[in-house]
Amino acid sequence: MNLFHAEDPLLQVHNVTRYYGDRIGCSEVSFDLWPGEVLAIVGESGSGKTTLLNCLSTRLAPTAGAIEYRMRDGAMRNLYQLTEAERRLLMRTDWGFVHQNAADGLRMNVSAGANVGERLMAVGARHYGNIRSTADDWLGRVEIDNERIDDDPRSFSGGMRQRLQIARNLVTQPRLVFMDEPTGGLDVSVQARLLDLLRRLVADLGLSVVIVTHDLAVARLLSHRIMVMRHGNVIEAGLTDQVLDDPREPYTQLLVSSILQV
């Protein structure tokens, strides 16, 4: 599927624990993520999903545990032993992070083209024409009208902002993308279109994704595997279809049964 044999995991998480003082953010979470795999983390608000995602993406240091990542040279590295410079390079080349609120992930006061081009310029692209044509290409891939390339994201709708954020993250061809409720706050039809787009991009690019969502439908559509969290613990994990069709834990059963049927 990728540079590596499918038996080599891309990300290995060992007993990641995060305390906020006496309170538990997430506790003893372990899993492996393989190249090209989409993992959904579901659970209600306050269950530790976002804490876990922030720990994984080096935005929040865990209290205990280790996270290893297979770098492009094939070596496994402990993320919290990387230097700040290595970590930043990783975050802007090999990784992506899609925020729930697009404004957190975009530069709202520079044009869409500059937003997409920023990562390229950060890794040394110095040819305006090339940067612009790459940005142009990526706007097309996320279905944003090319005429909007010089417009600020402020003038974009919520769905467009979210797609722009995705383009901005994918422009350096990352291998691992973290997503925090990427469809939150969007109306249903826009959500459906975004999910469709995400599914296509993930499949085309062979991305590995860790996606946090409270929306089981999103998990069902996008993910191969699912982890259900409650009170900071992973209470159930498995193939998405298996867990959602035949939940074992009472809490998962409750979650699945609380989906509104129209």
């Binding site: 083209g113 500059a114 920023e118 990562r119 310029m121 110095r126 305006y128 612009r132 390339i149």
Partner: protein
Amino acid sequence: MTDTAQIPDSVHEQGEYNFAYLDEQTKRMIRRAILKGIAIPGYQVPFASREMPMPYGWGTGGVQVTAAILGKSDCLKMIDQGSDDTTNAVSLRGFFEKTAGVRTTCETAEATIIQTRHRIPEKTLREDQILVFQVPIPEPLRYLEPRETETRKMHALEDYGLMHVKLYEDIAKNGHIATTYAYPVKVNDRYVMDPSPTPKFDNPKIDRMAALQLYGAGREKRIYAIPPYTKVKSLDFEDYPFEIQQFDKPCGLCGAENVYLDEVILDDKGGRMFVCSDSDYCEERRADGHLGPMAADPAAARVGNTKTGETVR
């Protein structure tokens, strides 16, 4: 050249200032910051900026730097927008005349220390001269990244992609790099620095300049420096290289070309002319017999007359 005996009596009556206003401990602290700045070209050294008897924005940073390096034998030139006779230059020159009693001059070649607000003199500076800049905002990344903690980290990690985002925006919105002053430069292939607020016309002069350049930002409490003959490159794109401003007319008074010009309004009937922003350079050229197309105009001649004190206010 001068000692305290030449300080006017009025000063003595009010009690004496220490030489160049600041106390010796403060000057020593500032000199340490300057030395560190010279050792790390382009790096912004924090320093304990003092309250000065003038408002922020008037050059409190530059004044402190000048006070710290000034000796009794120095000859000081003060310029503001290239000119020796504007309010800021006159006031700061007066400040040092009063508190240090040093010799002052309007002639670039004669000065050993030149404190400037925007311009670098047209005349090439020498190794025995020091150019002191008054800097309002030392952080080139400030408008792109408001967090000081983050910009410091970006400097430490040479994380300068954001600077090009700004230039990209310029080209996308205007078709060319529209930044005309405070144009970011990379010093000695390492630190991105803001030569603010000089026009980008002067950026090529910063590169490998023979004179020592010291930058002081009083409100922001930063000092940085470019040692003599240091490589300074203006940031640009491969397909949009750095360019300086071009003027289609020569100076109206002295006929100089390839110098930075200011537009001066002569009357309320639309009369105007472009003259050298470096007033000393312009006067010297006229004294050498160079005349521009407007030199005969009486209104224009009045503008150019600065040394005699008959300035336009």
